[in-house]
């Protein structure tokens, strides 16, 4: 039985931590690369529909986002759906409209890829298509024809 008795004086050896910085740095670099820093403050609620045939976006920087939904701050902005791009409210038409915004975004990109830019419409499921239709018309006017209806993957629920 004395076989299993611990020898009083012996301590368990300390774990070798010399490789810890390497691991931490590796994780750090991973998250640095994976992080998208420009996270615009969201002003509207966008609970997107769930459908089955979604496609993933490969080139994230080639996508411009338009958010449509009821404002989160209902006390100040009311309940009716609003359009948001970058981090401010916008309109369908005019100087602060969809067309102006997308054209501006297009001009920031090099000439060669402008035709590949996609506009992602991230609309709350409760929004009515009338508003989306108006946005689509504006996009057609500036010949920005690639569109993505943002949706999450899953089974379609009735």
């Amino acid at each position: 039985m004395s076989k299993f008795k611990k020898n009083g004086g012996k301590e368990s050896p300390a774990i070798n931590t010399s490789a810890l910085p390497d691991i931490v740095f590796m994780l750090l670099f991973f998250f640095m690369v994976a992080t998208k820093m420009r996270d615009p403050s969201v002003l509207v609620r966008t609970n997107v529909p769930t459908v089955s045939e979604v496609e993933k976006i490969v080139k994230k920087s080639w996508v411009n986002h338009i958010l449509v939904g009821p404002p989160l701050n209902t006390a100040e902005f009311g309940n009716s759906p609003r359009i948001q791009f970058d981090d401010k409210f916008g309109d369908v038409e005019g100087a602060n409209g969809v067309g102006v915004f997308i054209t501006m975004k297009k001009n920031e990109q090099p000439e060669g890829i402008r035709d590949y830019l996609t506009t992602s419409i991230k609309a709350d499921r409760s929004v009515r298509m009338g508003l989306i239709q108006d946005i689509k018309q504006e996009l057609r006017k500036i010949n920005s024809l690639k569109l993505l209806y943002s949706a999450s993957e899953g089974d379609v629920e009735e």
Partner: protein, 166 residues
């Protein structure tokens, strides 16, 4: 050293948003030139599957009400008809799905309907690819001859009506 790295690591951990961009990809038609009258396209009625969605999110397909679950099968029947049934398309190349929605249709229902139409095409392409090449459509290499052939056999022609002014 490790402390600073940990600090940065925690910062990036907290700020990272891992959300993936997913959605239904759609190509819009070019904006019609107001000076040019729209071209008159002779389209055989049997080749067009008419899908209407009203403001109460109800479906009307070929002038008959339909449940959403039945839409994929009906669309597939339409595009795979190859001239068999008189009400459906002559051939898969000629088949067109016309989608028309009301201004009051919800985004959820519109996206769901669009999804069912895309699903019908994906399934039809997949079945064709399996019978012809023994591989699923998704497994065909991108821009390969096989993929182009399948796409040519089942071109996704989902036409959206011009919005009507009320």
């Amino acid at each position: 050293m490790a402390d600073i790295a940990f600090l940065l690591l925690v910062f990036f951990l907290v700020t990272t948003t891992m959300d993936q961009q997913k959605g239904l990809r759609v190509q819009l038609p070019p904006y019609p030139d107001p000076n040019v009258p729209p071209p008159v396209v002779e389209q055989n009625d049997r080749n067009v599957l008419e899908v209407l969605v009203n403001s109460a999110d109800q479906l009307l397909v070929e002038r008959k009400p339909l449940r959403l679950e039945a839409l994929t099968d009906l669309t597939k029947k339409h595009i795979q008809n190859e001239g068999r049934l008189p009400n459906f398309s002559d051939s898969s190349q000629a088949a067109v799905v016309s989608l028309k929605n009301d201004r009051g249709t919800s985004v959820e229902r519109y996206v769901q309907v669009y999804n069912e139409l895309i699903r019908a095409y994906n399934e039809a392409r997949d079945e064709y690819s399996r019978s012809k090449y023994g591989r699923s459509y998704a497994d065909l290499p991108d821009k390969s001859d096989e993929q182009i052939a399948v796409k040519k056999k089942y071109p996704m022609k989902i036409s959206e009506a011009e919005p009507v002014e009320y």
